[in-house]
């Protein structure tokens, strides 16, 4: 998963930091942990499919590739004519980007400021909190 995340958001390019500069796995695991149990069970098999599938198309396992090679390999998923391969790319991108841009500093690198435009206006109002009430009949 780390290799995939490093390929999706590598170091360098339009902004310096990449996935490798942060400990994203706990966030990714928290998100994957919310999947349905069957889907969650299938995720490691998906990763193995990607890891060993690279042997056939690129001659080496994903985790043995450089970031550029891994990016090029994952590109073939995103640009595939086959819907399931495009869906795999989408899912991996979502897991990676949810983890990466969840960190405010990373979101700021692309110009996004979370709730910055509303400042301190009415944050965390105590609405919806219900206390036990006694209703007399």
């Amino acid at each position: 998963m780390s290799a995939i995340m490093n390929a999706i958001i590598p170091r360098g390019g339009a902004f310096g930091p990449g996935a490798a500069d942060f400990d994203l796995l706990p966030r990714a695991e928290a998100y994957i942990g919310a999947f349905n149990p069957l889907v969650r069970m299938g995720f490691p098999f998906l990763l193995r499919y990607i890891e060993y599938g690279a042997l056939f198309s690129a001659g080496k396992r994903l985790t043995r590739m450089s970031d550029e090679e891994a990016t090029a390999y994952l590109d073939t998923f995103e640009e595939s004519r086959l819907y399931y391969r495009r869906t795999i790319a989408l899912m991996l991108k979502m897991v990676t980007m949810l983890a990466f841009y969840d960190i405010d500093e990373n979101a700021a690198l692309i110009g996004y400021s979370h709730l910055g435009h509303v400042g301190g206006k009415k944050k965390g109002r105590a609405v919806g909190r219900t206390r036990a009430k006694t209703v007399k009949r």
């Binding site: 390019g13 998100y31 349905n36 970031d67 991108k93 692309i110 996004y112 965390g124 109002r125 609405v127």
Partner: protein, 508 residues
Amino acid sequence: MEKTGIIRQFRDYTGRVAEECDVCVIGTGAGGAVAAKELAERGLTVVVLEEGGYFTPRDWDGKPVRSLTTMWRDGGLTATMGNPPVSVTLGKCIGGTTAINSATCFRTPDAILKKWQTLLGLDNLTAENLEPFFTRVEKEIHVTTLSWDVLGNCARIIKRGCDRLGLHCRPLRHNVRECVGAGTCQFGCTDGAKQSTDITYIPKAVAAGARVYANCRAEKLVIRKGTVRGVRAALVDPSRGDRKAYPMEVSCRTVVVACGTLITPQFLRKSGVRNRHIGRHLQIHPAGRVCAIMKEKVEGWKGVSQGAYVDDYHDEGIALEGIFIHPSMMLSAMPGIGKKHKELAVRLPYIAAFGIMIHDSTEGRVYRWRPSRLIMSKYLIQRDDMEKFKKALAYTARIFFAAGAEKVFTGISKMPWLESMEDAERLLTMKVRPSHLEILAFHPLGTCRMAARRDDGVVDGSGEVFGVKNLYVADGSVVPTSLGVNPQVTIMTLATYIAGGIAKKFGK
């Protein structure tokens, strides 16, 4: 006699729970929360079961990761099988999907009500009869029209494009109070401005004495001699994948099932309810989004997430409605891996987005309950709906180009990027297959549809299940057909109507 209303959640449970009440309501979304409040306020004892957890605005940070893992069902990965599979947004928390929707409000169109009367004999559901219920709901959730200054730049850009093309872009109506345009509607409104049912109906239900059990999954109805007698449920541990921790039994005189369109049919079947329409007639309002790279700064996250709409194509079954969500989700759906992704990502402040929604005629299906609690459903988009979808993308692209867009992304794998108005025109006549499309859905409806006769539906005009006394359904599954507009108010109105009928039966 004193009655205590309360919300309990997993940390409050210490063992088996047994409850007794007049009415057990299953679900706290647009249907269940409304039914609970309406019945409790009329003096009935109400117990409410909710599978998800209980959260308040203080628990949310407005970012996707925390919300997807706590408030959305299955991390947002619920999908129908089909070509293509369709991702369906479902909430799983107190508030249900109303806690994660875009707060958009429409009444049921008159033409749809007439269709229900003609096709399904629902002569009770006229605009005139439902008017007081619509009004009641809209007052309860504070439906209002926001000013343009909180609607965000995406809405303003689309308005500019519409003005140049002679189309009409208007502000949507939202159920909000003092909305400042934080733009986190789908991941928890951090200000508590969105008047979802956890903010409105549930506190009122509790104030009227309802006892709400969060982290409580209804497992089966108890039906004896054609009458519902109670519910068997499981109190679940959210830290252990919702594994059952303790059993719960509710003895009651009436049950209102409001688990949502994709779960209610499975639940009814598992409980032994038989009707050939259960699980059929699934309609979802297939949706998509179009993103445009503009020359001007947009900063689309500043403002209401779904601010405005264009209904000039209503007669074609197409609605265009705004949508702008957190960059992590938006950018993941746009092309680019590695440095190509980064080059696009830094242009985020210049990216605008708008959504499309189809009034579908395709009907899908929800299948029987499976042990993994995986929702098994199928939706195979038909050719005419697919054509509408493609046209909607093209119309939106046209509007963006008229507004000055440099490039437009449609999500169609065959032609993802459009570079000019001519490309948008070409898209209108291009041959597209379902597998080329990325389809989302936020409004599943119809799987336990209401009808006057048992041969045509699952519940009658009062919401009672044919063949099972005192068992009612009051969620999106009873909405007989696709609406062509956001269904929140329709579901709440029907739930209010159904609850009124139940209360009358109790003499309240």
